[in-house]
């Protein structure tokens, strides 16, 4: 059975970077796939990768991650300022991030219009 866990942005927006990463990794290590509203910052993503590497062991092989986000074209300056302020205060609330354990998710393929999850299949004896 595959468990998908949706995390709304407000649930992690007020957490500091370490707490945010810890929360996400703990869920993934329970073999659940996270559907996160919004995106992590580049620094948070690299920290997530580093923390993942620290925790790799016999059972936990790492993660698969992909974000979906489309930057609107030709936005006005006022909207740009509003967006930047929102990002500073709340993080990247737009878009979607998928994080899954590598033991379950074989690959996440992404192109500009879709994200595909390829799951690992258990060998039948």
């Amino acid at each position: 059975m595959i468990t998908l866990q949706f995390i709304p942005n407000r649930e992690i927006a007020n957490l500091d970077q370490d707490s945010k990463i810890k929360k996400l990794l703990n869920i993934v290590k329970e073999e659940k796939i996270i559907l996160l509203e919004g995106r992590l910052t580049a620094e948070e993503e690299s920290s997530l990768i580093a923390k993942t590497m620290e925790q790799i062991n016999k059972r936990f092989k790492g993660i698969e991650i992909a974000t979906y986000h489309r930057e609107p074209k030709n936005i006005q300056i006022i909207e740009k300022i509003r967006k930047t302020l929102t990002q500073i205060l709340l993080g990247y609330e737009h878009g979607m991030t998928i994080i899954g354990p590598a033991s379950i998710v074989r690959e996440i393929k992404k192109d500009p219009n879709k994200i595909e999850l390829f799951m690992k299949t258990k060998k039948r004896r």
């Binding site: 910052t41 580049a42 620094e43 993503e45 690299s46 990768i49 580093a50 993942t52 590497m53 620290e54 790799i56 092989k61 790492g62 993660i63 698969e64 991650i65 992909a66 974000t67 500073i88 590598a102 996440i108 393929k109 992404k110 192109d111 500009p112």
Partner: protein, 210 residues
């Protein structure tokens, strides 16, 4: 925000001390994209020697390898770099993947352990770089999150970088796909192994560190 401020201060300091300090040129990218092959190509071109070992087995480079005083010359100009070859960045490491290459289980486990440390080191070293060449495999899907994370981190830190699509000599190579994935950046197609289009890479390097 803090990372942007740190990046700005670093850039300012690097400009102030540029004449005294050598620039660190980092080679970053996903696993098996050809970073070490490119490091060897640069060293062969300007030092007539190699600096890294290369292998088809993933995570061959598991430690930071640096070569000091690499003088890159192009179009009558020259710059002295400390060339830094970094372990490939990955989000997962499974020792069983190495067994496919007929490696013994104990060796595969050891390699996996070292590989995880290498990824952490590569990420830590990002802050030390003055400029970076992001090496992508032009036969692979460019939309991987690792590529996006590397680019995002360099942009946030204000570190100048070039994206190269390596392995253009291979039949499956598709530079246009990389260009489509990162339309805001210039992408240079090279073959580090065969030495194709290296001059364009060197010229671009001079432009970004001016």
């Amino acid at each position: 925000m803090i990372i942007r401020i740190k990046g700005f201060i670093r850039k300012l300091l690097s400009k102030l001390f540029k004449s005294r300090k050598q620039l660190k040129l980092g080679l970053y990218g996903p696993v098996n994209s050809g970073k070490s092959t490119l490091a060897n190509r640069i060293c062969k071109d300007f030092l007539n020697e190699e600096m890294s070992t290369v292998s088809k087995i993933p995570h061959e480079t598991r430690e930071i390898i640096a070569k000091e005083n690499v003088v890159i010359k192009s179009d009558g100009k020259q710059l002295t770099f400390n060339l830094v070859d970094t372990p490939g960045i990955a989000t997962k490491v499974d020792f069983e993947d190495f067994l496919k290459f007929k490696m013994k289980a104990a060796d595969a486990k050891q390699r996996a352990k070292e590989a995880t440390k290498g990824v952490i080191e590569a990420i830590k070293w990002l802050d030390n770089m003055n400029c970076v060449v992001i090496v992508l495999d032009s036969t692979k899907d460019p939309y991987s999150q690792v590529n996006i994370t590397i680019i995002g981190n360099l942009a946030a830190r204000n570190i100048p970088f070039i994206i190269v699509g390596n392995k253009v000599d291979l039949r499956k190579a598709n530079i246009k796909r990389i260009e489509a994935a990162f339309p805001q950046y210039e992408v240079i197609g090279i073959s580090a192994e065969k030495g194709h289009n290296m001059e364009e890479l060197y010229e671009t390097l001079f432009k970004i560190v001016k």
